[in-house]
Symmetry: C2
Subunit: 400 residues, 2 copies
């Protein structure tokens, strides 16, 4: 989004001074990253890259994104609970893609053994771009939905103060007041806290599956701190740690270092290179366990591109969300039409049959909320890539 904040600046010297102030404020607010040189240590740290000014975003698009989030949550849940749909949809992917095949294999094993935990927790982040329509009006178009390890909710809770500071320094007090408050850390933590509570064992812990090299640890700590404030204790372990120290008892309750685990929160395990053979074994152990998983492997599979592609087919949303035409309309309005359809009529027919089969059990929806937003901005020459990859930078929407 184009902005005109730059016109407030008198010269390069003022710009540099403003950037210094913004950096110091970002650091003081905890918008931190470990350095690329020392991603395992917090001895010296740096700040997460961010725009100097907030970006203008039409209020209508923000409201639309908030309004449709609960529909996406329902949709992800419906897909994840529909084993037949997942199997049909992913059947061709599994043949070509080893990563999805291995995830799916664990999914099948768990279903065969019988699900040990009926509390499911999804912390979903739906990503959009603002697309300029032919008539010039902006539209919200979904890029993907992240159903595992969605990041930057922690740091996004700290960035409004930075942009308010920048605008205040320029005596734009009224404008500073328009920067939206945002606290996804708390909302994400409340989801985990609810799963922990439903697990029902006051001494059980939350296990955060972490990477050894984690520049973005402060994003995760923000959620850990919110949980600690509610007397819910979090331990951080890698897949390797689980493989060595994790075990299930006869009721498949999960123990790590002798401590019972109520909720497993994955901040690793979403990319092929994150899995050694040992890590796959650890993942299987976690999935088999009685601990609530955030997410369970079916929810992770529900976030694959192939599923997204399938959902854009005519009639598909209506079948997954029967009797909810308004939700379906809100969802479809955000579909970008990005995906080519590579399945023929026969495939369609098979999936339609799968959908017609009953879902595996009656469920109770305990919580469905939107808890905040994250705006990332990147230069026009980059088609893809996030903040951690050094392509996008953190931003705040300035509603117009």
């Amino acid at each position: 989004m184009a902005t005109n904040w730059g016109s407030l600046l008198q010269d390069k010297q003022q710009l540099e001074e403003l950037a210094r102030q913004a950096v110091d404020r970002a650091l003081a607010e905890g918008v931190l990253l470990r350095t690329s040189q020392e991603p395992t240590s917090s001895e010296v740290v740096s700040y997460a890259p961010f725009t100097l000014f907030p970006s203008l975003v039409p209020s209508a698009l923000l409201e639309q994104a908030y309004a449709v989030q609960m529909d996406f949550n329902l949709l992800v849940d419906a897909v994840s609970q529909n084993a037949a749909f997942l199997e049909q949809t992913l059947s061709s992917t599994i043949k070509q893609d080893d990563f999805t095949a291995r995830l799916f294999d664990i999914h099948k094993q768990v279903l065969k053994e019988g699900i040990a935990q009926t509390v499911f927790l999804g912390l979903n982040r739906s990503d959009y771009m603002f697309q300029r329509s032919a008539d010039g009006s902006p539209a919200l178009k979904q890029i993907e939905i992240n159903t595992i390890s969605a990041s930057f909710g922690g740091l996004a809770s700290r960035t409004p103060a930075v942009h308010r500071h920048v605008l205040s320094v320029l005596s734009k007090t009224k404008e500073a007041g328009k920067i939206l408050s945002n606290n996804p850390s708390k909302g994400l933590a409340l989801g985990i806290a609810k799963a922990w509570e439903l697990y029902g064992s006051p001494n059980a812990l939350v296990l955060l599956i972490a990477q050894e090299k984690e520049r973005n640890i402060f994003d995760q700590r923000a959620i850990e701190n919110e949980l600690l404030a509610r007397n819910i204790h979090v331990i951080r372990r890698t897949f390797e740690d689980i493989s060595e120290k994790g075990s299930l008892d006869q009721d498949r309750r999960l123990f790590v270092d002798g401590q019972e685990i109520a909720v497993v929160y994955f901040r690793d395990g979403y990319m092929p290179r994150q899995y050694s053979l040992q890590n796959w074994e650890a993942r299987l152990l976690l999935e088999r366990s009685h601990a609530a998983k955030c997410p369970d492997i079916a929810t992770q599979l529900a976030g694959t591109k192939k599923v997204q592609q399938e959902l854009s087919r005519p009639g598909m949303l209506e079948m997954l969300l029967p009797g909810q035409p308004e939700a379906v309309a809100r969802l479809r309005a955000t579909f970008a039409g990005l995906y080519s359809l590579d399945v023929g009529e026969e495939g369609d027919q098979a999936i339609a049959e799968a959908l017609a089969a009953p879902s595996r059990q009656e469920k109770t929806l305990v919580m469905n909320k939107h808890v905040g937003h994250l705006l990332r901005t990147k230069a026009i020459e980059h088609a893809d890539g996030g903040v951690a990859a050094g392509v996008a930078v953190l931003d705040n929407p300035y509603p117009v």
Copy 2:
């Protein structure tokens, strides 16, 4: 103060994990220092050293320190406003100590020309040790009073969260709740804001005199941020900058880069090595100006060791704070008896006469507050040295 927190720990591994959590929390809360390698840059930063656990401090001593702070403020003010007392007290020091001599020379010049600003702001930090008496009871003994550039009020506002975190991780929730809240940043900013308001020019700025190499910038930023939140803008400049860009108009109003200055807040200029000839000229310019100084040079002189020594003489407090026997008693109770008296009867007589002379003008006391505390802990082998020097570390009192 001895503590028994260590007994909560099971092993070295738990200690290390707790330290990692504490460090990450300190960083996230903004308990930051620039690195010693790059003291002019915020590109990578580290944390200010701190104790893993809060230290036990008798509540009575904390309450005593709070109760006597306003007496110390009155005393510093009385000394700073009594030119004759300062001259008599410092006469021998001036002959031996070039730094005090130069400060005093500026003080004399300003008095001779006539004070251009009658708003005086002191942000005083009175430092104590906890002394074990012969009978084993602890006593509060004053080491010194800092009347210029007292630091760590900013970071001390952020450390309670760190110790609360540490105790919460150990499930010591009740104990975590006993860590005192502390916000000297805000209190110090409110003092500066009051001086700014009394100056009476809405567009005038606060000038923070900064060092070029400043590891402790985040301590200062905390106060700057509090001022910005009140729409009071702060610019940071070195003495060198003032020497090049500072000027007085015919009414001795201070301008820097064309901007009028309401308040000069010194975070430099308290040590001899901080003054080149150029810097002394800049200091003189600032002192002569109509801007409110925090502190003015007389208040800086009131904080010298020699003055403190003088104040411990019998009858001295009574003369400086006439009609306030309770304040005098509270002050005297904190005197450590550290200072040898090197002035004879003759000196006593001269100072007594100086005190008997009327002070230079009627004053209005606008604000006298205590605004927070700072606990620093050091190993027993270090007699002296602060946090910035790498000797003491930040701590929080745990009242018992």
